[in-house]
């Protein structure tokens, strides 16, 4: 048999070229536009955070692999992704040692105590973020980002006091479709310096919605993520911001836009709600997961005390993943209802 070139093997017989490292590198490529936008908007401020996160992620990943007696293997790109994702959700101005501490706690408590890459029930990036948020609320505060201003001063302050939308696209213009599109475009492109006085503030990767969407489109085209979880997440946010909006009717449109297209929402929707290890397996399960994360996010944003609880919301939803997987089971192939 062997001479004639027959290979006898069990299925699957057709295999794709995808592998876990390839997917990880794919996500790394997808996050790059957001990183580049962060560097473009924040210059050195962003570079500092990114370098700190990358270096510490690679060093601690190697160290922890050594510590749990695994062969040190950095080629799967996981440390790279951890560092980049961690940098995207850090506000600028976080000192390097805090970033390093967050990465370490995230890798140790969020990942390696469970056995390493892929075995973690909670997203390690967000675990590290949560440790920093509880330790250094001052550095991690996003009170002066767009969501913070929205939460603390209200949408009318953004429009009237800061006059951000009114320069070229005044209130009167939002009624037309063209005006609506222009405003959408402005929000997608990112918050330019001078929006809130002279100072521009936000998380490194959250500043330009368009860059995140480009990365997300790449993930969708490569089919690394499916639409269930992001749609559930964004639809919930849209629903809450439409139904429970309490302010002036004419500012509803920018309010909804900010809720949907502020960077952290989109980043969460395409990079964190769709994480492989920490979200449910089935389509319906993913949808439920997204709705749950969106629900907690909006409860916090509208009625809670946190400015942007989206990361905590994902941690909460992560905790429900095993439960969702237990109740939402895929139908076995070829199964029919038994008729007696």
């Amino acid at each position: 048999m062997k001479d004639k070139g027959f290979v006898v093997s069990v299925g699957p017989h057709i295999q794709g070229r995808e592998s876990i490292p390839r997917i990880v590198y794919g996500v790394v490529i997808a996050i790059l536009p957001a990183i580049i936008a962060g560097v473009y908007f924040f210059k050195m401020e962003a570079v500092k955070v990114i370098v700190a996160a990358l270096v510490s992620a690679i060093v601690f990943d190697a160290l922890l692999q050594k510590l749990i007696c695994k062969k040190v293997d950095l080629t799967n790109g996981h440390a790279l992704l951890m560092g980049l994702l961690f940098a995207t959700i850090m506000p600028i101005g976080v000192p390097w040692w805090a970033v390093a501490a967050g990465v370490f706690v995230g890798l140790l408590v969020g990942e390696y105590v469970y056995g390493g890459f892929g075995n973690n029930p909670f997203n390690p990036v967000i675990v590290g973020w949560a440790a920093l948020k509880l330790s250094y609320p001052g550095y991690l505060s996003v009170a002066s980002s767009v969501l913070g201003v929205l939460k603390l001063e209200g949408i009318s302050a953004i429009v009237e006091d800061y006059g951000y939308f009114s320069d070229a696209y005044g209130v009167e213009n939002w009624s037309t479709l063209g005006g609506k599109l222009k405003l959408l475009g402005k929000i997608l492109l990112g918050w330019k310096a001078g929006a809130w006085g002279d100072h521009l503030f936000g998380c490194v990767g959250c500043i330009c919605a368009l860059a995140i969407l480009i990365g997300a489109a790449f993930l969708f085209i490569k089919r690394y993520i499916s639409w269930y979880a992001p749609v559930g997440f964004l639809a919930t946010i849209l629903f809450f911001s439409l139904v429970f909006y309490k302010g002036d009717k004419q500012y509803l449109y920018p309010f909804v836009l900010i809720q949907l297209f502020s960077g952290s929402t989109l980043l969460a929707a395409f990079f964190f709600v769709t994480d492989f290890a920490t979200t449910p397996f089935t389509g319906l399960g993913m949808f439920i997961f997204g709705v749950m994360a969106g629900l907690v996010t909006m409860l916090g944003r509208l009625w809670g005390k946190w400015v942007d609880p989206v990361w905590f919301a994902i941690l909460v939803a992560n905790a429900f993943t095993p439960l969702i997987d237990r109740f939402v089971r895929p139908k076995p192939f070829g199964r029919v209802k038994s008729s007696v």
Binding site: A101, V105, V109, S135, Y136
Partner: protein, 199 residues
């Protein structure tokens, strides 16, 4: 009296059966009273006193206590010593009394004195019960102090209230909060299991 057995009963509480790490018992004060080394040490010593005395008394009374109401009797004995501890700390160690707060009266319902009474003191003679209570208590004190050491050092940058870290150090203060307590305890449990399993 067997000296070898006496030593064994004393030392088992220090490592092999160290209460919070091996049995995962008495976690409430382990989580709540370990923000500073002085709290951890104080709590541990309070519990050591209560445990040793209650072990001795229950062992003395073990032939008199009827089996049907033994738990109630154990609780009465434990509660007596807890009240002694509470009044003594209130009189002589007032800062400790204030910072431990409700957790001193709560020693009454701590699993460890009751567990040792049920599992050991009610079946063994006075001298062994004394060794068992002392060993378990000191083991508990050691665990609390070591946990508090890390939480205070990294979470506050101090040891026993003295600054020991460099001047620019900003503490990782989530270790001082409830999540940090769980994370620290979990990591220490993991390390203890790792060390234990290699034997």
């Amino acid at each position: 009296m067997d000296t070898k057995r006496l030593v064994k009963e004393f030392t088992k509480g220090l490592w092999k059966e160290i209460p919070p790490f091996r049995f995962v018992l008495g976690l409430c004060p382990t989580l709540a009273c370990t923000t500073t080394v002085s709290d951890g040490l104080g709590m541990g010593l309070c519990l050591t006193f209560v445990l040793t005395c209650s072990n001795v008394f229950i062992s003395m009374l073990r032939k008199i206590i009827p089996d049907e109401v033994r738990l109630a009797c154990f609780i009465v004995v434990v509660a007596t010593f807890v009240i002694i501890v509470e009044l003594v700390t209130q009189a002589y160690f007032y800062p400790l009394y204030m910072s431990l707060g409700i957790f001193i009266p709560l020693i009454v319902v701590n699993c460890i004195p009751l567990g040792r009474a049920e599992a050991f003191a009610s079946k063994n003679s006075v001298i062994y019960s004394l060794a068992d209570g002392l060993g378990m208590g000191l083991g508990y004190t050691m665990s609390l102090t070591s946990l508090a050491f890390f939480r205070e050092l990294l979470g506050k940058g101090t040891i026993w209230g003295h600054h020991v870290m460099w001047s620019g150090f900003e503490p990782l203060s989530f270790l001082q909060k409830a999540p940090g307590a769980f994370v620290c305890l979990g990591l220490m449990l993991g390390i203890m299991n790792l060390v234990g399993s290699e034997k």
